[in-house]
Amino acid sequence: MVTEYALRMGDGKRVFLTREKILSEIEAGSGNAADLGEIPDLSADEIDRLAEILMMPGKAVSVEQGMEVPVTHDIGTIRLDGDQGNSGVGIPSSRLVSCMTHERAFGADTMELGHIDYSFKPVKPVVANECQAMEVCQQNMIIPLFYGAMPNMGLYYTPDGPFENPGDLMKAFKIDKAKDSMEHAAEHLTRDTVWVMQKLFASGADGVNFDTTAAAGDADMYGTLNAVKTLRALYPEMYIEMGMAGEMVLGMHGELEYDGVRLAGLWPHEQAPLAATAGANVFGPVVNTNTSKTSAWNLARAVTFIKAAVEASSIPCHVNMGMGVGGIPMLETPPVDAVTRASKAMVEIAGVDGI
């Protein structure tokens, strides 16, 4: 009887595959990334290594001793006291408690303070509250403590913001108006994030984490890159992490450029150098999980993309490995076997500087 190994589907469901099937899934997943990103496939050795990791008998696996990397925490405090439908477990606690729990009980290498809405724009009216929380936390914390939020440029469009929704304008074939709207929103996004971070940095934040950059497409990335550039010019010592929302920058506008590079359609290995140029210290690449594919396919695809980004980057890359990204199944409670295998593969094969 042929031996079958317990893997996962992209939605977390258990699936049993033979070694041959695992290898073919890895080749297909890696090939898909190579084709889309126009990057190298995984080598034969890397494919074998990935298969070996996926077929390890233990429930949890880990990196070889000495290969550990810093594990950082997007969404940070909200993970414990929040419960927003995509993260957070709703434990009544203060954000200080959450920060210190991560530092002293969980073994986190860095931590992040965030607002319950987790977007920069809504922080503006409550920034004093955020500064106060940052000051209290920094008095007690030892590990680096960021302020983190999403650029979330969608909040600048109607009905949430002042500019006409480009999605509606596009559907009405008002393409130039849609582009104008995106450009205006990007300017406001830059202005707001810089303003918020000026306050938080004055309150002792180690730095900023731009989480889910480009969620609203290329203009969102344009606004964020300009915010990074401005903050870097103002604060040479600020820790700046720029993490992405998806694997490819959606071309909602299509013509915006940063440093002479068109932003629309960029894949992780093309995004990383721009983050460095703007002044980020760490880049957070993302690769989406396809829920209909196996963990072998998804992880091979993610490792192929991330390996190329790590190689192209001049700054450290901390790969995003939350629910539904980086080879992790799209499930609120991602299985430990899938998470630890993905974690090990990203460090040992893709060569990431952190997670």
């Binding site: 939605d11 995509n86 999605g167 559907k171 393409i175 609203a216 299509g254 894949w267």
Partner: protein, 214 residues
């Protein structure tokens, strides 16, 4: 690049170029050689499908998709001028698309609407944070063939099930197809709530809508 031949190839390439004048020029030329139905199907639509593929691959962007769709519509109109009224191209189907109540995520759903519209469906995008009843009302009002329901949070995902349940209560379920999507949605979830299909992304939404409605 797709493998189109002769004048059909030229029509498809013109659509991919997103330029209306080029499309009209290519259609005018093809008209002399081929029946309008074939030009629409194997030239214009084939070109538009390729535009969708290039969008997913990051080679073309949303404004291009809209320009290509506009150019394709102009090409279809030109061909219809010479066609008998009964044989003129009809919309592929009518789709109501929106994000469920309590969920303000808009962008992914809007891209899906745009791609469906560009592919030739009549799309009624009812926005985000849409009350369950509004999906059903809009479907009735437009005599929709399909409802697309988006949700980006695990807490709002239940709204997709509620739309299906309300359609059943109203006796409309058998004549309206349901497509679900959004980050936490999966094929297993679609099966569980009795949706007709799950789409991973915008181009898959177009191909699955075509599978179900054509």
């Amino acid at each position: 690049m797709a493998d189109f031949e002769g004048s059909l190839h030229e029509v498809a390439d013109a659509v991919i170029s997103c330029k209306k004048e080029k499309v009209l020029e290519a259609v005018e030329k093809a008209k002399a050689e081929l029946p309008p139905e074939e030009i629409i199907d194997k030239g214009l639509s084939a070109g538009m499908n390729q535009v969708g593929v290039l969008f997913e691959r990051g080679k073309l962007f949303l404004p291009h998709v809209m320009m290509a769709a506009d150019a394709m519509t102009a090409g279809v109109k030109l061909l219809e001028e010479g066609m008998p009224a009964g044989s003129r191209e009809k919309k592929l189907g009518t789709i109501v698309n929106g994000t469920v109540e309590g969920d303000v995520h808009d962008i992914g759903k809007s891209i899906v609407s745009t791609m469906l519209q560009s592919a030739g469906f009549e799309v009624h995008d009812i926005g985000r944070d849409v009350p369950i009843r509004n999906f059903v009302q809009k479907a009735k009002e437009t005599d929709a063939d399909m409802i697309g329901i988006s949700a980006l949070m695990t807490t709002t995902l239940q709204g997709q099930r509620e739309v299906i349940e309300l359609l059943k209560e109203e006796g409309l379920r058998s004549r309206v197809k349901i497509m679900v999507g959004g980050a936490p949605a999966t094929q297993a979830w679609a099966d569980k709530i009795g949706a007709d299909c799950y789409a991973e992304n915008a181009s898959e939404a177009v191909s699955k809508a075509k599978e179900l409605l054509l």
